[in-house]
């Protein structure tokens, strides 16, 4: 079964938005970075937990999904700008397709992302939902 260890290593990120921050310049990173792009070797990287709150920076509706996501179409894919700064990519769920706009407030939820067939592991992770649905 491919990728079990990869997913396991990323559980703190995928479940709990655990990233890093550089205490030298204050920049925060999600996904976590080992090297601060600004401070490079003079950076001081430590763990930082994001709140899961953010706004929609951009979005699209996927009509031609990749393998594993076929039955969810059409689904909203958005670039979420976390309130602490960094951006990430995520599905936006529990809403009607037209409800998502640039600037909409969102919050993190815990969902199934995809499973490895019917016998493999289930990969859970973050998705986002609108904070103020209609």
């Amino acid at each position: 079964m491919k990728g079990i260890a990869t997913h396991w290593r990323l559980i703190p990120q995928r479940y709990n938005l655990v990233g890093t921050e550089c205490s030298n310049c204050g920049m925060k990173f999600f996904p976590p970075r080992d090297i601060c792009p600004k401070c490079r070797r003079s950076g001081d990287i430590g763990e930082f937990r994001f709140s899961g709150e953010g706004t929609v920076y951009s979005y699209t509706v996927i009509h031609t999904p990749p393998e594993g996501f076929e039955f969810q179409k059409p689904y909203v894919l958005g670039i979420i700008e976390l309130s602490e700064g960094p951006r990430l990519l995520s599905q936006i769920v529990d809403c009607k397709l037209g409800d998502v706009k640039i600037g909409s407030r969102v919050e993190q939820v815990f969902r199934k992302v995809v499973a490895d067939g019917s016998a493999g592991i289930i990969r859970y992770g973050y998705k986002f939902k609108l904070k103020d649905p209609k």
Binding site: T60, L77, L89
Partner: protein, 389 residues
Amino acid sequence: MTSRVAIIGTGITEFGELWDESFRSLITKAGTEAINDSRLEGDEIEALYVGSMSPGLFSGQEHVSSLVADHAGLKGVPATRVEAACSSGALALREAYLSIKSGEMDYVIAGGVEKMTDIPSNSATVALMGAGDQEWEAFKGATFPGLYALMATRHMYEYGTTLEQISQVSVKSHENAALNPKAQFRFKVSLEDVMNSTPVADPLRLLHCSPITDGAAAVVLASEEKAREICDNPIWINASSCSTDTIALHDREYVSRTDAATRAAGKAYRRAGIKPQDVDFAEVHDCFSIAEIMAIESLGFCKLGEGGRFTEEGETSLSGSIPINTSGGLKGKGHPVGATGIAQAVEAVAQLRGEAGKRQVEKAKIGLTHNVGGSGGTCVIHILSGDLK
């Protein structure tokens, strides 16, 4: 090293869904045509660079550098496979250029090839997502049309670009492709056709997206000394530049512009000693129509945010002030991923030699090729010209 590098021969296969062609037959055809065009015997070639994004995922085949050298009749020649997603071709060209520029070699061949149709298109989409971030984009259900759609949404939001303007790019691409005997789609489409085509990733529809294509292209490069000896009409590479950016779209400062392209363009213009307005035509990376709009902004052909309007006003058509993608672009001629960067150079050479037939740009003296990897993680730019008088 001050001596220049020239392209002395080109070759390109038909682009399309080529059931009868294999990875090997495609690159061999293109390479042979390029060597014939250069009037070399073949033994003179000192190195081979081949750009191919994913022969492993498309055909289960790695180690293609040696495979290609062998099948091209160049067994024994040092061979390197270059990979930078969809900019593999131009990066292979750059590596070939640098090996001559360094003074190390006189004759090098650079090719690009992708055989994409031996796996179902669902799987091809997964293979192409390898150009994106596996853990933070692919895992979340992203596709390349989806990533470019995210860029389009932002561009429309920040600059008021309209879907009509984005669609106009496809209309123009097809107009040009209809004149290109090697193109995958040799027919025109109307604005309505484009805007009403099947939704792929809002706002992008089927006719905003380049297709899945098989194809190969190759160019033979020579040092200035050798080029002047054997070639009547050498086409000079005046600049070769490359810049990288984050591979994940969401990690970029701006999602509505391609900073790697802007940086690479700046370096190339400085190196060639020219300004954007000196360029007579360009082959740019229109994997999705919105990409061409962002490209012409990055390349300085129009102001940031004006790409839509510029296209709408016809400035990028064959008869416009700066014809873009006379070949039909990736949308019209097809996008065999690793081959595209080399195919762009082949079109540029044809234009500069005056051999572009119905697609010929009048008084084409300086051309530019712009090849992008993924959603903008890599950009490779070349500036070419004939002997400038």
